[in-house]
Symmetry: C2
């Protein structure tokens, strides 16, 4: 009899779609009467664009943002209805046919794109107000002929997660001035963190991504968002070791006392970054257990000496992400941000979606 | 007319299969009469297991190693012939039927796995000689009844990339002693770096992975392996900026002088790690250009002030990995190892395989 894929998986990633929907609703209520879009680029930040976008559309979300044309084409197959799908990276030459065929709205970032798009249905104008990444400068906007009709006007904040940073109000002022010149065009400046800078940043619609998936949009403050992930890594082997036993590549950890180790089937090839080496942790039966030694490609080792020995058996699981230790906490262990922990989530994890819309 | 996927891709990853085969042949000649296997776990270190394994099998490789049962099942579909496929992480309870159905050889890592497997075709015995990761301890091996027939005996070196590390000879001695007890069983200790520790480490077969894909097995010495990757990121936008212009999230870079920036369609969601922020580089027309500001999810920015302005146009490419600046050089920029740069390689890259076996 073939084994069940979950029972043979080295790791299981549980994704709570009801939690993602609850996060979207919380933000939508917060910004009303402004509208709440959803950013589902990068495979919905690694969580799976098809189930995530279906759940959000069922909850009433009408505007979706992706990064690339190929992501837009894939999302249109998931959402064949009237939902709007916008492509942030804009159109490359020769791709107008695909935008039309899949009813995708391009975000136009520079003069070349705007000129190429001139005779087509309205695109979204992106102006750069202080990131120097994508978008027309305000000066270039002043040179624009008035005849162009825009579907929307957007910009992006560089420091929205640092509310006191002076660039926030500078960007807001530049954006408001641009919106003044394009009165009547729906305008959007705020992503997840920008929503929490106050209603002066909401304009006509907001574009949260990370907050939908549990990242704290207000670092340093209590997280208003629900955690939507649980990542469980399977114990492959348990061993009792002596004091001084070296662990892993480069023998970077030596056991400070006799103890017990558990080897778990997750590694940096699963996106559990090498930066977690000697810094990460997991949870076994309510006890936090440290990750010891370097992260291998397919394996990590925990010092489980403090955990209940009855729980420490091959086949059992150690939690790497859960309600108590979410994406931001894990990211802090690795010296990065929750966003990168999300987008790195591995392809070998067996994925279980909870709270599917009925 | 639909656009060609390469022409609309934000980045193109070229993978030189002939180079991978040449690397395998170089190692096979070096270790003869020992045999040279190939490690193709983690989707052939991110390069695509199907084309890589087909090319190596066509070149004469007969033994392949993967990490998980699911990887083994996928590889057997690619190699339906007589090639041996071994699963390093071993069998989980209830999976023996799959191992048989797909003719996979399990690596048995602990007493529980060995006992469960006792009545089945011979597995590979893994002993731990100093990593405390997977494998039986030498002491546990001494308790084994003699009746068990083994397909092979393996172990793994913790510090093979540091030839002077005393653990190398300790592990070799422990492994040789175990092999002494299991005379006649094919034995394997060395992976990529271990091959370069000398023929005393070769035993009956070696198991290179990273070196096949261009990682230097002898850090600090000239790299004997060919680079097999070229990663080209597409320029989406070029802008002239003033002195003081902040770049990217958190405004962590400010232009030291007036200059020119190029925004490229690669980000940490493509596995271009956040650790490259303000530390990485690319190549535009023969000129090395620094990555400035933080890495965004889908975008990075280069200061291209020193490059030929005629080359700096939207649609053109900046090289992130090439012959001159390979996986190890990129890894050093990000403070990691070439292995992680490989396994992180993104799914959104358009992949072109060169040197397909004819």
């Amino acid at each position: 009899m073939p084994s069940d894929p979950a029972s043979r998986a080295g790791a299981i990633l549980e994704i709570d779609l009801a939690g993602i929907v609850a996060n979207w609703r919380l933000l939508a209520e917060k910004v009303a009467p402004a509208e709440c879009a959803a950013v589902v680029k990068a495979d919905a930040y690694g969580l799976g664009v098809a189930p995530v976008a279906r759940a959000l559309a069922a909850a009433g979300c009408r505007r979706f943002f992706v990064a690339t044309l190929d992501e837009g084409i894939a999302l249109r197959a998931v959402l064949p209805g009237r939902q709007e799908i916008a492509v942030l990276n804009g159109p490359l030459p020769g791709t107008a046919g695909e935008f039309a065929a899949h009813r995708l709205v391009p975000v136009l970032n520079d003069r070349g794109q705007i000129e190429e798009w001139a005779e087509r249905p309205p695109g979204i104008l992106h102006i750069d107000t202080g990131m120097a990444r994508l978008g027309l400068t305000p000066g270039e906007l002043e040179d624009r002929p008035e005849r162009i009709c825009w579907h929307a006007l957007i910009s992006h904040l560089a420091c929205a997660d640092a509310p006191e940073h002076p660039l926030n109000s500078e960007q807001r002022q530049r954006f408001a001035a641009a919106h003044e010149r394009l009165r009547g065009v729906p305008a959007s400046l705020a992503a997840s963190s920008g929503i929490f800078l106050g209603s002066g940043f909401h304009f006509n619609f907001v574009r949260p991504g990370a907050a939908l998936y549990g990242v704290n949009p207000q670092p340093g403050n209590p997280n208003p968002m629900r955690q939507v992930l649980r990542l469980k890594g399977r114990i492959l082997q348990v061993r009792d070791v002596d004091r001084g036993q070296p662990v892993g590549y480069g023998a970077t950890h030596a056991m400070p006392a006799p103890g017990r180790l558990a080897t778990v089937a997750i590694g940096y090839a699963d996106g559990w970054l090498r930066a977690f080496g000697n810094r990460g942790s997991g949870r076994l039966g309510g006890v936090r257990v440290p990750l010891v030694g370097r992260v291998s490609m397919d394996l990590i080792v925990f010092d489980i000496s403090a955990a209940d020995p009855a729980l420490a058996r091959p086949g059992a699981f150690i939690d790497l992400l859960d309600e108590e230790h979410g994406v931001d906490a894990a990211a802090a262990d690795a010296g990065t941000i929750g966003y990168e922990v999300l987008t790195a989530l591995g392809r070998r994890y067996h994925r279980l979606y909870r709270g599917l819309p009925g």
